[in-house]
């Protein structure tokens, strides 16, 4: 059960920022390893890219794009809170962060 003290937008924004950051840090080595396969020529990278055409993998990519956009927006929110005198704007910034993440994910999904 979520404690009442934590059930507010700023805490959720913190949690999303932290979890998306950890997830992206875990994904990064795999991303680099896959791109590194191009050292052996484009054929192996091409085979991997065709593997990513599967619906389940595309859904995973969509999730990663949302995580990246959410971490970016949450990071911008944090920078604004730390370096700009905007304390009262926390809720607005959190809402903008969520909106941006959703928009980026949607754009990716539509493009794919």
């Amino acid at each position: 059960m979520i404690r009442p003290a934590r059930n507010h937008p700023a805490w959720w924004a913190f949690l999303v920022h932290r979890l998306s950051g950890v997830a992206l840090a875990l994904f990064l080595p795999a991303h680099f390893l896959v791109l590194g396969t191009a050292l052996e020529g484009g054929a192996r990278l091409e085979r991997f890219l065709r593997w990513t055409d599967q619906p389940g993998v595309v859904a995973g990519e969509w999730g990663l794009v949302i995580l990246l956009a959410a971490h970016l927006a949450g990071g911008l929110r944090l920078l604004a809170l730390e370096f700009l005198p905007w304390r009262d704007w926390q809720k607005t910034l959190a809402a903008l962060a969520a909106g941006f993440a959703l928009l980026a994910g949607l754009a990716f999904a539509l493009a794919r």
Partner: protein, 113 residues
């Protein structure tokens, strides 16, 4: 360097890389959406990254900034959620950062040259 000064330096590096990454990630997101819309293929990726030295420069700085930012971030998470602090955590963070940066630069070299 005193522990307090080291913490301050890590905090500043985390924020500085965050500002750089905000720009890098926006460009990366836009490029990704354009790339998948145009049809994702190894040939298309390699044609783009071979087209200008600006791409390897961009992705090289991006990879090093992401590795640095990620390692410092994981150190904070390890301290706050796992209570893993001190020299072991610092060495772990440095190792993660170096391995990530090396893997990132290898990937940039692989798709650029």
């Amino acid at each position: 360097m005193s522990p307090r000064r080291a913490e301050l330096l890590l905090w500043a590096v985390q924020r500085a890389t965050a500002v750089l990454l905000a720009f890098f990630v926006l460009v990366h997101l836009a490029t990704m959406i354009y790339a998948v819309h145009a049809g994702l293929s190894a040939a298309a990726i390699l044609a783009r990254t071979h087209s200008s030295l600006l791409w390897p420069a961009f992705y090289g700085f991006f990879a090093v900034a992401a590795a640095t930012h990620g390692a410092i971030g994981l150190r904070t998470v390890a301290a706050e959620w796992l209570h893993w602090r001190g020299r072991g955590a610092d060495i772990g963070m440095a190792a993660i950062g170096l391995v990530l940066a090396a893997a990132g630069l290898r990937a940039v070299a692989a798709v650029s040259f």
